[in-house]
């Protein structure tokens, strides 16, 4: 039936490629766009297309930067330039910045090593990270990859590569999340919280 409505079929195919939409939500999202006014649609598309012209990735930390400005981290005189927090994706930086508990540099890997998904170390920005660290100006590196097998493998890979340097390598603390109950926690988290216990 949709083959008789090529315009509708085409936009559904396009939306299907967007992650988290290719399910039952697809039609509701399509509805949202179909019922937009032409002006709203223009604004929406202009915002999307502007990202192609006005955003680029910083060549040092690989976070997004406005093409017309410098990287808000790498070019900031107010931040500590000798400590790098290594994250998998740029969104992780937003999560860390929200804490206001970190004032150093960042490095976006672009994912984690996952041979099953065809992602090897070469597909990530590990080489540029090693170059940054070997430049000598770095004192500490925080491996803030996800607590997943892939994230931990990636952290291990990077730590091994940096074995011969004098840089301090740290990773995020593991344990019980704030506000959690021991009873409801999974076994592995409780185990980590026990084995990595700290003085009160």
């Amino acid at each position: 039936m949709l083959e008789e409505l090529p315009t509708l079929a085409h936009v559904l195919r396009m939306l299907q490629q967007v992650p988290y939409l290719a399910s039952k939500n697809l039609y509701k999202v399509a509805s949202h766009f179909l019922h937009m006014s032409p002006q709203q649609m223009e604004q929406f598309c202009a915002a999307l297309e502007a990202t192609k012209e006005k955003l680029s990735q910083c060549t040092s930390c690989f976070f997004w930067q406005e093409v017309s400005a410098k990287c808000i981290f790498c070019a900031s005189p107010k931040r500590e330039h000798d400590i790098i927090c290594v994250v998998e994706v740029w969104q992780d930086i937003l999560a860390i910045e929200k804490t206001k508990g970190y004032n150093g540099m960042y490095h976006v890997l672009g994912g984690s090593i996952s041979p099953l998904d065809g992602i090897n170390a070469d597909d990530l920005t590990i080489e540029p990270l090693l170059t940054r660290v070997r430049s000598g100006a770095i004192k500490e590196i925080i491996l803030a990859t996800n607590q997943t097998p892939e994230g931990e493998a990636t952290a291990t890979y990077i730590a091994r590569k940096l074995k011969d340097t004098s840089v301090t390598i740290s990773c995020l603390a593991r344990g019980l999340p704030v506000g959690s109950f021991l009873e409801g926690m999974d076994r592995l988290t409780v185990f980590k919280a026990l084995s990595e216990r700290r003085p009160f």
Copy 2:
């Protein structure tokens, strides 16, 4: 921090307005768009913008139609024109068409009566539906609104408005879904299946 990246902040605000995206998925979807090539982005936006130029709503049944063609239902000589299936939204038509069990006309209400959400009978295409029915060429009307309080209220409202006509009014059968187990079913469904039982 995002205030220093206005292009990124703007596209995030735009995506936030899309239903089903304004949650944790937002950043992953944003990532999808940020990593698209300019060509892919152009294609995506062209598909969206084409819907504004090339799609309109049929003035009779309110389903989508290509501007350059007639309504695939209302103008079809192969379909029965004296029976109308009334649905809340256009997506419901896709679900019914997939069954290949219906060959009549449709009518898209554009939602259901829901005073709490500020949606009254006047906001839906009920008046045009009544005009269609009163034209005299209609034998049966199937109220295929959702099995929700709002959907049932809308069906009741329409049925009441058509009380004085000779048209047959029917609604979808209620009962146990195919492949379901009695044990796992909610009470109300079992009750409906019992009270609306049919000869074997």
